[in-house]
Structure formats: C-alpha cells, structure tokens
C-alpha cells in the first residue's frame, strides 16, 4: 500500500517524505560544495596582499553567490528540507507530511531555482551586489544586464519553495502528531522546526516584496527605490532586514533542534528545564522579528531609533542564554558519552557562545558603528552560521546516519573529522576578529600591504584549507560506512524519540502501528513501547486497509480523524516545470510568453486537483 514505484520514476513521482528528504540532502550537499568552492577561491585570493587569483568582477560574483548559496541553497534546505522532511514525521509518529505532494513540489521548485541561479554563474553574469544587494548599486543604472534580475527572480523562486515547506511543516507539526503527543510531550526538535517554519512564513513576504519592487524598478520603470523620483533607498534595507534578521534565527533554530536531540541521546538524560527551552526556541524567532534595524546603525537613523533597536537586540540574547545553560547543565547532570555527534554539539556550543558574545557587543551602538562592515562582523556571523548552524548539521549527519542507512559510521575517522573542522574553522574565523579591528573592511577583492593585515589573512586561508580537509574526511567516512559499515539495528544510541522505535532504514509506512505517546522522550517509555508491540501482534491501530494516517487535534494532540493520504504523483514535478518556465520567460523579458506560461501553471494545477484522494470510509 505504501510501496514506492521502482527505479527513477519512483523518485521523480515520490511523495514519501523520506525520499524527498534524501533528494533535498543530495541536492543541498552539491550546492554546499559549490558555495564552499567559492569560499576557497575567495580565501586564496586574500591569502596575501595584492593577489591576482581572480579579478574584481569575478570576486564580486563569488562572494555574492557564496552568501546566497550558503543561506538560501544550503542551510535552509539542509535543515528544513533534508533533516526536517526526513525526521519530523518520524518524531511525530506520522506516516508522512500533512501535504505530501506539496512537499514534492517544494523540492522540485527548490532544485529548479538552484539550477536557475547557478546558470548565471556559468554564464559569468552572476549576481554581484552582495547577498543583501543594496540599491542603488543593484539598480539598472549601476548594474545593467541580467545579473541582478537573476538575483531577484532566483530569490522569489526559491522563496516559493521555502514557503511551501514552512506551511507544510506547521500543519504537520500541529495536526499529524501521534495520539497522546500534546505540546508538552512534543520533542524539542519539533518545537525548533515549528519556530523556524513560522519565522520563514512571516519573514519571506518582506523579501519577496523587496525583490519584486527591485525587479519592477529595473525592468518596468517604477521608482520604489529611486530617490530622485520620491522613492527611498533605505526602503530596500528595511524590507531586506525585516526578512534578514529573522532569517538568522531561521538558520540556527533548527540546529538548536538537532542539538536538543543529540544531547539527550548521548547523556541519557532529558534536557534540563524542558519547558523553558521549548519556549525559548519559539521566543528567539518571535523577538528576532524586532531587531532588524541593528544591521543599519551606520545609515544615520535618529538616535532614538538606533537605541530602541539596540535594546531589542539585548532582549533577544536571553532565550539563547537560557538554551546554552540548559544544554550545559544537561551535559553535566547526565552521563555524557563523547561520540562524534556529541563532539560536534560541544563544538557547536563553544562556537555559538563565541559568536553570541561578539553579537552582544553589537548592541553597543558606537562599537557597532565602528566595526560594522569589517571582518569583525564576518568573524561574528561565521561563528554563528558555520559554528552554530553547520556544526549541528554535521553532528546530525553522523547521529541519524545509522537510522537512514541502517549502518554504523566509523568512530575514529568521525572524531578526526570533528577536530579538523573545529580547529580549522577557529583558525579560519578567529583572526578575522583581529583583522577587522585593525580596520579591514569586508568585500574587498584585495588589500594593500603595509597595514599589517597579511599574517591574519594567511592564517585564515590555511584554516579554510584545514576545514575543507575535515569536511572531506567526514563525507568520505559516511560514504565508506554506507557500503562497509556494521549493521546498526533500530536504535544504536538508545535515542529518546520515536524514530528509534522503528527499523533502520525506516519502512515506507514508518510506523506499522500508530504509536502511543506519553512523554517527549517516547522511546524511553518502555511500557508504551511494550503496548505498541502488543497492538501490532493483535492487529490493533495498524490502519492496514488503506493509505491512511490519523490526524490529531492541534493542542492536546489527541486522535481526531483518519485521512487517506495521496499516492505518488507526477503533478508536483510538472507544476514545478511550469513555474520554472514562467521565471525563465520573466528573466528574458518575454512578457507575452510569460502570460501564456501562467496558463500552463493553471493547467498543471487542474491536473493536480483531478486526482484528489477520496474521503476515507473508515
């Protein structure tokens, strides 16, 4: 009943959250490679003063694409798309996402948007105004050609995918929980993804509006950002950062979620102060919506505005400090086993605290205005984004590798990869603090000798090479383990949540019997698991009649109804193709064709709704 089609067609038409998660995983890994290669070229160019590895035009495209790639095409799709898709239904005790076909649609749109924006790089006309793309530098006068159009359309295109994913996650988390999983019994991982999804859903419209305005300014002749005609250049910055700051938390909160799963598994202890941590995960995203203007302290805003946003920036620290101490206390009061995943989480806490402490410095407005747009800021947010978002991603790769593949990874190479990455990133990012304080601005394709910036830059570049080696060791370890690893069994770590109650790799239907949940650490509730086994033997709660799945009530997570889930479908990829054609025609300014292509989207939607699943009779 839940079997996928065999072969490539099975993957193209799949609506299985696990397959979609894996598709996301491989795609984002390729894009991570691209973004990493861009970073390595940047670091090689800056290894010493006055180098000529690349010229300014290529350099500008590289750092712009590096930022866009790592944020929109690596971390968001890796955390939400890959980890969220694969794991959320497993942790919630569900058989699939709430909207399986929409889930497939968001993957295919994501893939198409990645190909779309990388086409620009291969054509040598990639976006080149930085990832925050300030006007007027990015308007038609100062940046003619297609580079910025690729940016605007690529961001909107990618945003559709992220919005669909976010909406799907919210409904899945609210409605697809196993019977008994009320909010106080929901794993912290799910709280984190709920917070990140709300954040995405509310932050993205601001960016979408911003990029639509810019596209119209560039191509239709509107004047949203044209000061001479009554527009405002700062409007771009406000709209961008209203998205851009919540975005930072959208990047790291899922990583918090990963950490809050790995820590209990390797300390065999529930996270200390569970309710505070759950609330903190939600609060950090909520308060994160009120701090955007701290990216704009140097733009000459009135003192009262500046001070207000500095105060808000101080408040947003608190949910993070709550979580840091909760994690540390769980380490100490538990029985810590420092396997590779936990090492990455310990490294993550160190990096996050280091980056967070420099972040607190930015609420001192005069200091912010002194070091903003220097390498000090680069150091700060790479400690956050690499340290606090990517470290847990790496830890999570190791942690759930046995669940996904059914094999154990090799521990020693795992620990080696951690130390290489940990030392490499600190050598890469720590000297950036110093060189920033010494006055080196960001986004310079080269720098003069004689200002004393050479040694730091050399160290940073060496650090980037060491980090790369560490990542290669990590990936090689996982690939070799996939073929040669020992069988893992269903639960190699004695993990806390429901995904460890089922075989590795999980069957298509995830749970043979709909599990009973009476705490957030369901796998440690032995009586419940015993009851599940009894029910399976008796054939109770197995829903074997159809492609079925129970739906829960949003708050107390109790049994509400049973729905028939959709089967594999060709329409998600067809609709994604139709949407891609629309964006290509917009890029080429073929307005008539654009109108016809819109009709294509309508046709694909009609086809989609032609095969609605029938109401269950049960």
């Amino acid at each position: 009943m839940w079997q996928s089609r065999p072969g490539v067609l099975g993957w193209v038409m799949t609506t299985d959250h696990k397959r979609i998660g894996l598709l996301y995983f491989w795609t984002t890994l390729v894009l991570f490679g691209a973004g990493g290669a861009e970073a390595l070229i940047i670091r090689t160019q800056l290894i010493q003063p006055n180098q000529h590895v690349v010229g300014p035009s290529v350099y500008d495209q590289l750092f712009t694409m590096h930022g866009i790639t790592m944020i929109f095409f690596f971390i968001i799709p890796m955390t939400t798309g890959a980890f969220g898709n694969y794991l959320l239904p497993l942790m919630l005790g569900a058989r699939d996402m709430a909207f399986p076909r929409m889930n497939a649609l968001s993957f295919w749109i994501f893939l198409a948007s990645g190909i779309f924006i990388y086409t620009s790089l291969f054509l040598g006309i990639a976006p080149n105004a930085g990832w925050f793309n300030y006007v007027p530098l990015s308007n038609a006068k100062f940046d003619p050609g297609h580079a910025i159009d690729f940016y605007c359309l690529g961001i909107i295109f990618n945003g559709i995918s992220s919005s669909l994913t976010a909406a799907n996650f919210i409904v899945t988390i609210l409605k697809m929980r196993a019977p008994g999983m009320s909010f106080n019994r929901m794993p912290l991982f799910c709280f984190a993804f709920l917070a990140a999804s709300w954040g995405l859903l509310f932050a993205l419209p601001s960016l979408t509006a911003d990029t639509i305005f810019l596209f119209l300014d560039r191509n239709v002749g509107t004047h949203f950002f044209d000061v001479a005609k009554g527009g405002s250049t700062l409007l771009w910055q406000h709209l961008f950062w209203i998205f851009g700051h919540p975005e930072v938390y959208i990047l790291i909160v899922p990583a918090f979620g990963i950490a809050t799963e790995i820590i209990p598994a390797f300390t065999q202890r529930r996270v200390v102060a569970f309710p505070l941590v759950a609330v903190a995960e939600l609060l950090v995203v909520f308060i994160g919506f009120g701090v955007w203007a701290h990216h704009m302290f140097a733009t000459g805003m009135p003192t009262i505005t500046v001070v207000f946003f500095a105060a808000a920036t101080g408040v947003v620290v608190i949910p993070s400090t709550i979580q840091v101490f909760a994690w540390c206390m769980t380490f100490i009061t538990g029985n810590a086993r420092f396997k590779t995943p936990l090492l990455f989480i310990a490294g993550f806490i160190f990096m996050f605290v280091a980056g967070g402490l420099t972040g607190i410095m930015f609420l001192a407005v005069p200091f912010d205005q002194q070091v903003t747009d220097t390498y000090f800021v680069i150091a700060h947010f790479h400690y956050i984004i690499f340290g606090a978002a990517v470290f847990p991603i790496f830890g999570g790769m190791y942690f759930w590798f046995p669940k996904v593949t059914g094999k154990l990874y090799f521990e020693l190479p795992g620990q080696i990869s951690f130390w290489l990455i940990f030392l490499g990133t600190n050598l890469l990012f720590f000297p950036m603090h110093i060189v920033g304080l010494e006055g080196m601005p960001r986004r310079n394709y080269t720098y003069p000798a004689g200002l004393g910036w050479g040694p730091e830059n050399l160290a940073e570049t060496i650090g980037s090479y060491i980090t790369t080696v560490g990542i290669v060791v990590l990936l090689a370890n996982l690939v070799v383990s996939w073929f040669r690893g020992l069988p893992a069994g269903p639960d190699p770590w004695h993990g806390a949540t429901l995904e460890w109650t089922i075989p590795s790799p999980p069957p298509e239907y995830n749970f043979a019997v709909i599990p009973k949940v009476s705490s957030a650490y369901a796998n440690w509730d032995y009586a419940d698991r015993e009851e599940d086994r009894r029910k399976l033997a008796e054939g109770v709660m197995v829903l074997e009649q159809g492609h079925e799945q129970p739906v829960s009530s949003p708050v107390d997570g109790w049994w509400a109804e049973i729905v028939e889930m959709p089967h594999d479908s060709p329409w998600p990829i067809v609709l994604a193709l139709a949407i891609s054609i629309v964006f290509i025609l917009l890029l080429l300014h073929l307005w008539m064709g654009f109108c016809f292509a819109l009709a294509g989207i309508v046709l694909a939607l009609l086809g989609w709704h032609g095969e609605e699943p029938q109401e269950s009779e049960a």
């Binding site: 035009s57 000459g300 005069p366």
Partner: protein
C-alpha cells in the same frame, strides 16, 4: 605590481580601531577592551562546563540520588534561570547604559552649534571628494583638518551608498542618496590617519581609500588658502603644451581645473593635483612615473574604474605630466 604598491605603504596612516586618536575613537576602543574581557570570561565559563562534562564522562552525573529519573533537575533550573536569565540581563543593562547612554553622545552627529567648521565628504565610484563650504577649495582622496578642532563632517554621495570611515578618529557613517549624514571629526594630535570606504560600492570598493592630514591650525589655514585659489598658470612651454592636451583632449570632460575651461565633475578635481601625496583613492603614490602610467593605463591599477586608458604620444604624455605636476 606588488612591489609598486609596497612603496605606497610609506605614504603613512594606519586605520586601526584600537589605535585611537580622538575622544570618540578612544571611548570606543576602551569599551571594546572591557567587553572583550567580559566575553572571554563568559566563553571560559561555558568551556569550563563542557570540559567538566568531558572529565566526568562515563560517570553518573551530578545530582546523586540514583532513584531520581532526572538527576540534578532542580539545581539545573537554578543555573538556567540564574545564569541564563538574571546574569545576562544585568550585564546587558550595564553595557547598554554605558554604551548607548554615555558613549553614544560623543559618537552621534555633533550639535550644529558645537563645531568650528564644516567639511563635505562626497563619495564617488571610486574616490572621495572633499569640499570646504565657504571656500572654493575642493580636493580628492586627501582631507586636511586642523588639530584639536571640532569638525562637522557631512557625508553625501554622488552615486551609490558608500561609508565614510576613519577608524582612528571616529566610527563610520554611510552616505545615503538624498540624505546628509553627519559625524564629528576631531583629532588629538597632528598626523596622517588612513580611512577607507566601508560599504560595498562596486568593482573598486577595495581601492577607495582616503588620508586625513591633521595639521596645526596655522598650517591648515595656509593649506586651505592655497587650495581655495585657482590653478597656477603653466610656467614652462612644455607645461603650456600639456595644458592644451588637457583642455583640447578628453580629460576636461570629466575633470575640473579651476581657473581653466575644464569643469567636468565625473572624476576628481585636479586644480591642485600636485599638492597631493597619492592618486586614485590612495592606490598609488603621486609621482611622475605613476602619474604617467595612470594616465595611459589606469585600468591596470584599478580595473573597472571610470577612466579609460588613453593612447597618447610620448610627447603629449610628457607635456601633460609636466602640466599636471605644475598644479601645486
């Protein structure tokens, strides 16, 4: 190329935020040192907790009672609330008051009546132009101010967003189209201070430097008088031929030389070019060989800059350089 630019290091000026030469920059630097000490303390605390967990690895955690399914939950809560809420709040409020209550008064725009003079800094792709309101003086890349004098710096832009930043004297301020942003420029002692555009502004953002020459008040007054005067007439026959090359050729369509018919406004004002130490946004020294090479091959030094390479005959170039070198 590397060798050529090495020589420029001698042009002087560093831009180190931790080597302050004004009240504002000193306050910011001191604030940083305090924050850094506290931050290292915080990082050491967290690292200590993680190391403690590592030392005690494989043993049952703190909180003793083996029957307790959640050992140490109560002390854990105390630490999370105490260290995670109360302690950071106290630190943040203290930092907020010191930085945004006190120091900010020195670094925000100065009150209009509190300054002795005004300088306009205009960002261009990719150089800084400086004007002294009330006089005709215009210069580029190099700003002169009198020592221990409160200068009202007004930052604007001719094109995209730039950011005026001389870290040893004060924090930075962006130039926003349609707006005038102001900061206080003040220096404790004479010297040369380097600055650089800090907001990404296109291809040659990296080569948009500036030097601030802080002079005694008398020396500054003499300098300003000279800068305000029109250009010196060419003194030699060679320089006169050079002036014709400049005025009849494409140069005058982009550059101004006060006292002649050249009044372009795309490139820097060259009225007193020879009085400057550097060229092209503090990219190369202002010496005859560099100047000549810049005119024929500026794209070598600053690829993408708005000045095309000019194909001049040897004689024309020699005359042009002689003329420009006379613009003291």
């Amino acid at each position: 190329m590397a060798l050529l630019l090495l020589t420029l290091a001698g042009c002087g000026g560093s831009q180190n935020t931790l080597a302050p030469h004004s009240h504002a920059a000193t306050d910011i630097a001191n604030l940083f040192w305090v924050m850094m000490a506290v931050a290292f303390g915080g990082l050491a605390l967290i690292t200590g907790l993680l190391v403690l967990a590592w030392v005690r690895r494989g043993r049952r955690g703190f909180g003793a009672d083996p029957d307790d399914p959640h050992p140490g939950e109560r002390p854990g809560w105390f630490v999370v609330v105490g260290m995670g809420v109360v302690f950071p709040l106290v630190v943040i409020v203290a930092l907020f008051i010191v930085a945004n209550g006190a120091i900010i008064n020195v670094t925000q725009a100065p009150a209009a009546s509190s300054t002795a003079m005004t300088v306009d800094a205009v960002g261009h792709q990719w150089y800084w132009a400086f004007r002294y309101p009330g006089t005709k003086a215009v210069t580029a890349g190099e700003l002169h101010i009198p020592v221990r004098t409160r200068v009202n710096l007004v930052a604007t832009t001719a094109d995209v967003i730039h950011s005026f930043w001389v870290p040893e004297l004060n924090r930075k301020v962006d130039t926003i189209p349609g707006r005038q942003n102001r900061i206080l420029l003040y220096a404790n002692r004479p010297g040369i201070y380097r600055g650089q555009c800090a907001e990404y502004c296109g291809l040659q953002h990296a080569h948009m430097g500036m030097l601030v020459f802080v002079q005694s008040r008398a020396a500054f007054r003499a300098w300003l008088r000279k800068q305000a005067a029109p250009a010196a007439a060419p003194a030699t026959p060679l320089a006169r031929r050079g002036e014709r090359v400049f005025l009849d050729g494409p140069c005058s369509s982009c550059h101004a030389i006060r006292g002649t018919s050249a009044s372009g406004f795309v490139g820097p004002d060259l009225t007193h070019l020879a009085s400057r130490n550097t060229l092209a946004g503090v990219t190369i020294p202002n010496r005859r060989d560099y100047l000549a090479r810049w005119i024929v091959d500026s794209q070598h030094f600053k690829p993408g800059n708005q000045m095309p390479n000019f194909h001049l005959s040897r004689a024309q170039l020699g005359a042009l350089v002689a003329y420009l070198e006379g613009l003291r």
